[in-house]
Symmetry: C2
Subunit: 433 residues, 2 copies
């Protein structure tokens, strides 16, 4: 196992690191589920027992961040404290107790040739994780990868490098205690930014790159990687309100989708309202969301309807610019457009959506069915909030990312999405004719 | 629909072509399975009815190829004739009659929140297919993509561009007859090689690139694409013969794996024989395969054993160079290494294998189980020939490629591997708490 000093070395040799990861991945194929579970329980225990060391390292990162004038919300994302560490340990224990994702054989068939074949779930191999300021991702990603039998190469933001070194050291101890290779979880903590570019080209050693961060990180990975990248991270999300919708019950859904946690990717950005109900419904929305401080970027029709209302003076209404329909606001802002019909709503979503989370509110089953069939997104919702697009909410137990691309995994990625399969074929000394 | 002349235009606008493909993919979401099936039956009929036009275009390609001095085996791969066209039509009808790969909903759950969710199979969207000299790939890829509801952008080798134009024109007629958008299948037939590089960066329009061709094409795609690439194509395949193997029955399997079709990726390259049986078994192999003209590249131990045999003079035995173990021979050449045990065989495969097709011949169930668990390849075989790694042999009905990467699809890619899924979640006017 490389020492923390080695891991901090400015001459980090990524090729050697990649080879160690590949060797560790092979050793994981020989490890039992019991060992993987034991490693995670030990890790959870050590996170609690070693909290002083970890928090001291984190304090170092925060001091450096403060000195560099990082904004308060970023410093908060970087912060670990005993409560947060305990929550991370608890999450690790939950992952430990999930069923073994590798214990699955499926698609059995005996073919006319006499060949018996099935698909066996396998780990992906080596996962590369690139993230920014949250040190908890170091543990989350390591836990999900260990559980699914994958080795992982972690690259956290340089702002949290001391935290990453301290946490990775604890992870290595947990792996060793369970008899697993410590190279199964390696961190690149050298702050040299070019290492990210190098990591993205280690296609001999890394099978998959998962970026966790903003749109620019995802774009950078896609442009520079020779390894498949799970992209996601951007959600321009829509909710279409159909004329048959139960308007009283629609308002809390829209409120939940926009207001509950405005800064996340599954929050609502654009409300599409069918023309026939717009005059009645839009003021209901404005009343509820306006009271929460939401600003409305409304198209001409919606703006006229809202401004004709006696309460209009209390609402922040501005005209929607063309770019508003392509913006993930991550804030208390809601774009509004009045549409003629479902067809126009579908066309709007096809043009402006990012394939993340799209909802219809309707009591018309045919409209719901058409929306489900034709919207091309990681998750499609009927009479619910878009906020449900989440591994926990979907019952996956945990999630490593939310994917908006269509290969391997779409939407929340849990343990199963961190696996592949191999074909296993057996025969009675059989040749192909 | 672009005319053949437009498709041949040297100023092909790939961005516009990509947008048309995306629009067609959206229209395919509204199309029924019956329409997709009808398009394929019409296509099969038209391939037969229009054979004169297609064969005339193909003759043009062949004349150009002959004039350019292309080798005979390449010209044969380019060749269409009435029999080949009829076989292609028959394959198209088989694909038409396979079950609808999109008709699957799975992972239903009702969660404690009240949310009901499931995964719905969906098309991937737009597939980009890059291939070389075989005009039949134009039909195969189009048929599998139409059946699975995907639009496809085809880029065949410039040697077969006239054939591709003629076939794509027929495909467009079949699509139109079934009421499907003709842009669902588009060919880039402009010979400008830079168009391949441009195509690999159309990440706004293409969801997946499938290269069909040699190692250099796969490497080029991986290096230049901003779109996920299904890589494959290289198979350095092994068969390990364990001391418990039934030696008489092992020989035909090795013969089949190496000799039946030497030029394909699932053929055998390196034979690993356990030391205890090497003296008895290697001459048996040499006798059978030597008679078929196979050359042996043997390690020191194997060479000594073989050359001590009375028939040695009839066999072509040369010392294995280090590079032989990393070579996909695609010819009647077999590398041979004597190994101490399963452990050493596994280490050899981990070091030299390309993750394609690996076999063990054994009567020891524990050895078979360990080989299955620890070999990291698209298909692992017990007591069968590696030649079974094939969509048809695995009962998939058809295949578009054999993948040696681990995302989305591994091994033979059939219709299901050309699909993704979306999450569908419904609730009774539900918000996230």
């Amino acid at each position: 196992m490389p020492s923390p000093t080695e891991m901090m070395s400015p001459t980090a040799d990524l090729t050697a690191l990649g080879k160690r990861a590949r060797t560790a991945a092979r050793a994981l194929l020989r490890a039992s589920h019991a060992q993987r579970v034991a490693a995670l329980h030990t890790l959870a225990d050590l996170l609690e027992q070693q909290h002083e060391t970890i928090l001291a390292a984190n304090a170092e990162d925060l001091a450096r961040g403060e000195a560099a004038g990082l904004p308060a919300n970023l410093l908060d994302r970087m912060l670990l404290n005993p409560e947060r560490l305990q929550a991370i340990a608890a999450d690790t224990r939950i992952v430990a107790e999930l069923p073994d994702p590798l214990d699955e054989q499926y698609d059995f068939a005996v073919l006319p040739s006499g060949l018996t074949r099935y698909r066996q779930r396998t780990p992906l191999g080596v996962v590369g994780m690139i993230y920014e300021a949250r040190p908890n991702v170091t543990v989350d990603a390591a836990a999900l990868c260990i559980k699914s039998g994958n080795a992982v190469v972690l690259r956290g933001g340089s702002d949290i490098r001391a935290s990453c070194v301290a946490i990775t050291t604890v992870i290595a101890r947990a792996l060793a205690t369970a008899g697993l290779p410590t190279d199964a979880v390696q961190s690149i903590t050298d702050p040299d930014r070019d290492l990210v570019r190098q990591m993205l080209r280690l296609d001999q050693s890394i099978d998959l790159i998962i970026p966790r961060g903003g749109a620019s990180l995802h774009q950078f990975c896609r442009q520079n990687a020779t390894i498949p990248v799970i992209t996601g991270g951007i959600g321009v999300c829509h909710t279409y309100v159909d004329p048959t919708a139960d308007l009283e019950r629609a308002v809390p859904i829209i409120y939940n989708a926009r207001v509950q946690r405005p800064s996340v990717c599954n929050s609502l950005d654009t409300l599409l309202v069918q023309r026939a109900i717009a005059a009645q419904f839009l003021p209901m929305v404005a009343q509820a969301l306006g009271a929460a401080g939401v600003e409305f970027r409304a198209d001409e029709t919606a703006r006229v309807l809202l401004q004709a209302h006696p309460d209009a003076a209390q609402w922040r209404i501005t005209p929607a610019g063309a770019e508003d329909y392509d913006t993930e606001f991550l804030a208390l802002i809601l774009a509004i457009r009045v549409v003629d019909d479902l067809e126009q709503a579908l066309a709007h979503i096809a043009q402006h959506g990012t394939g993340h989370s799209e909802a219809i509110l309707t009591n018309d089953q045919a409209a719901a069915a058409r929306f489900i069939a034709e919207v091309d997104a990681s998750a499609v919702f009927v009479n619910t909030s878009t906020r449900f697009n989440d591994g926990g909410q979907f019952g996956l137990g945990a999630e490593i990312a939310v994917s908006t691309q269509k290969l391997q995994a779409r939407g929340p990625m849990g343990l199963r999405e961190l696996t592949s399969y191999k074909w296993v074929a057996t025969g009675d000394w059989l040749v192909r004719s």
